[in-house]
Symmetry: C2
Subunit: 374 residues, 2 copies
């Protein structure tokens, strides 16, 4: 053993693809004393979280709950519960997280059909329509609403309408979407939607959020095979999250993380969902104007940019990694690197939740200006 | 939407089966500002956590790391990575968590052989020896070191020695054990050991800890089938936790929970592992003396009691649930209900980590005395 000392993080401004800046109210909520996961006091918190989550997702789904693990586990929960070996699943891919969906389907023994679009493009509804026509036995359509790797917002409403016409259940990844851009689970006919804590809700990472429609819950109940993951098995989780009065122990809930989630959802409720969407749009426009003044080019067409995740091309000849290092060293400002095919060429600048503020935009544009040549 | 207000938990003294009382230093550490999961600052934290975890587990295993989800996910990670469909696994069952292990093996397509002992008894090494003789093709032996449902400590060293003689890998659940009772991963030949944050480490629930021996890692590398869980796939996690210098993104680490874990591990290091074991024994003896003075009977033979989890029989004619309710209402004291076949008949009184203090023992014994008839 060497010597060990207390860890004191260097405070940063987080404008990457997540985690985003956490509001002090959320940090303070998380530091409250831990209570038991079956404490009657805690049960009231669980009920309020479910109600606030339904509002955030714009759904009346009874099965709307946190997942005690990060967004990738929520993705896994969606597929693990709905999919049985041999089921045909259409996954639309236009970035890293669509690829991760496809990987999940393969590992779970699903029959995978992919619909591919280029990075930086939306999922093309016509391609999905064609894939459904060619695969009338498909049971599930899955796609990413807000692609964190490219900053593209796909038309979830149109895609789900096409999928539902074909009788499919829909799984929609809105890890980066929820709270930052319009998302209407019920109106858009989404059967399973999941999101993360550390994006536009401005919570620390570690937990995620999921909602299941009645049709999705029926599919889970009608399964012929058990869900391979005991931890993510919805039928077992229901007894803890949906029980009347006393709850049945499944796993120990992440009590303090849920204090933080509740506070973040409460703040979103206080601001109002549509006001939050508008704030993200406003800050996005300010940021884009500033970046374009610096001569930088946005990667994504203005018609389908995610306001909360701005993908920007690094100028030719500029070492993008060196710029990020300097931003961190000189300004304690974190922006994100490109992911996948965007690595080394693009930056990802997040304006998520508490980070979507005028002071952050100003800092980011001027710090970048300082770090760019010329 | 109804009205929503900030959640303020009623402070409790947590003496159930976990979560245990969280030390204020851990709560304060968790409330520090969130930084990025790829921040160079965070990488130093990860390295220090790994070093401290190795000390806590008494292992030199390179693959010693936190899991970004509660203990049940760590259990699942252990089986999901080591087991391939058709593999024969011997699971020793003497309580709820052995049953959960068996459930995991079944869901993953393993061929399950069980060795059963009564609740309140240790896993019997001779039964394991007989099962191994009858099943020479078994690949894995799994059992619970510290059974949270019964308060029994099994002889992990003896059981692993028998399993290794038969050429099996060993999976050992020490969710409630780590930090509270002797546990020596390397000396005892444990191949995979996992634990929880919310027991004797006195962290909030939500993350867990796991260590894999080289033999276990070799088994993972030699797999013919992919791990069904992308989220728990060790081969992918290694690139984030074990990379040299820059780390490869897998999922977003639970940054603030890891601040808390680091502080808790640091506190264990400051106290010294053997001192912590001794403190748990000392407080256990005080508690048992107090409970016996009240005329209460311990459920488990003194030779194999877990000091940190004391299972006590509710006196005949006493409504055990009413007593727990009164303890919570009048003293803000949480003790645990019986689980499984112990439900309605036993209490589980935890003395875990920060909760293993003289003031807690005194409060518990005297509050119980107040709530019991006569």
């Amino acid at each position: 053993m060497g010597s060990h000392t207390r860890f004191v993080p260097t405070p940063r401004t987080l404008m990457g693809p997540g985690p985003s800046d956490v509001h002090p109210r959320v940090l303070a909520a998380m530091a409250q004393p831990t209570i038991g996961h079956l404490d009657p006091n805690f049960i009231t918190l669980m009920d309020d979280i479910k109600a606030l989550l339904r509002d955030a997702f714009q759904t009346s789904n009874a099965l709307t709950l946190p997942v005690s693990a990060p967004g990738s586990a929520a993705m896994e929960a969606a597929f693990a519960n709905l999919l049985e070996p041999g089921d045909k699943v259409i996954v639309c891919i236009n970035g890293v997280f669509g690829m991760r969906m496809a990987e999940n389907v393969k590992r779970m023994g699903g029959e995978l059909v992919t619909v591919e679009d280029n990075w930086g493009q939306q999922v093309d509804p016509e391609k999905l329509r064609a894939a459904l026509a060619a695969n009338p036995d498909a049971k599930i359509v899955a796609f990413v609403h807000a692609e964190t790797s490219t900053g593209v917002c796909s038309d979830a409403q149109a895609l789900c309408a096409i999928a539902k016409e074909a009788g499919c259940l829909t799984i929609v990844d809105s890890v980066t979407g929820l709270g930052g851009v319009e998302l209407r689970v019920d109106d858009w006919q989404i059967d399973v939607c999941y999101s993360g804590s550390q994006k536009c809700l401005s919570c620390p990472p570690g937990i995620s959020l999921i909602t299941y429609s009645e049709a999705a819950a029926d599919r889970v109940k009608a399964r012929n095979t058990p869900v391979q993951s005991w931890f993510l098995d919805l039928s077992l989780l229901m007894a803890y999250w949906e029980g009347e009065g006393a709850r049945t122990y499944h796993h120990t809930a992440p009590v303090n993380a849920l204090y933080g989630l509740h506070e973040a959802l409460l703040m979103l409720h206080e601001e109002g969902l549509e006001h939050s969407w508008q704030r993200h749009r406003d800050m996005h426009e300010l940021l884009v104007a500033g970046l374009e003044d610096l001569g930088l080019t946005m990667a994504v067409d203005a018609r389908f940019r995610l306001p909360q995740l701005n993908v920007v091309q690094a100028p030719t000849g500029v070492d993008e990694g060196a710029v990020r290092k300097q931003l961190l060293a000189d300004f304690n400002l974190e922006i994100g690197a490109g992911l996948g095919v965007y690595a080394g060429k693009f930056w990802r600048i997040g304006l998520m939740g508490y980070a979507a503020r005028r002071e952050n935009v100003t800092l980011c544009v001027n710090a970048l200006s300082h770090c760019l040549p010329g």
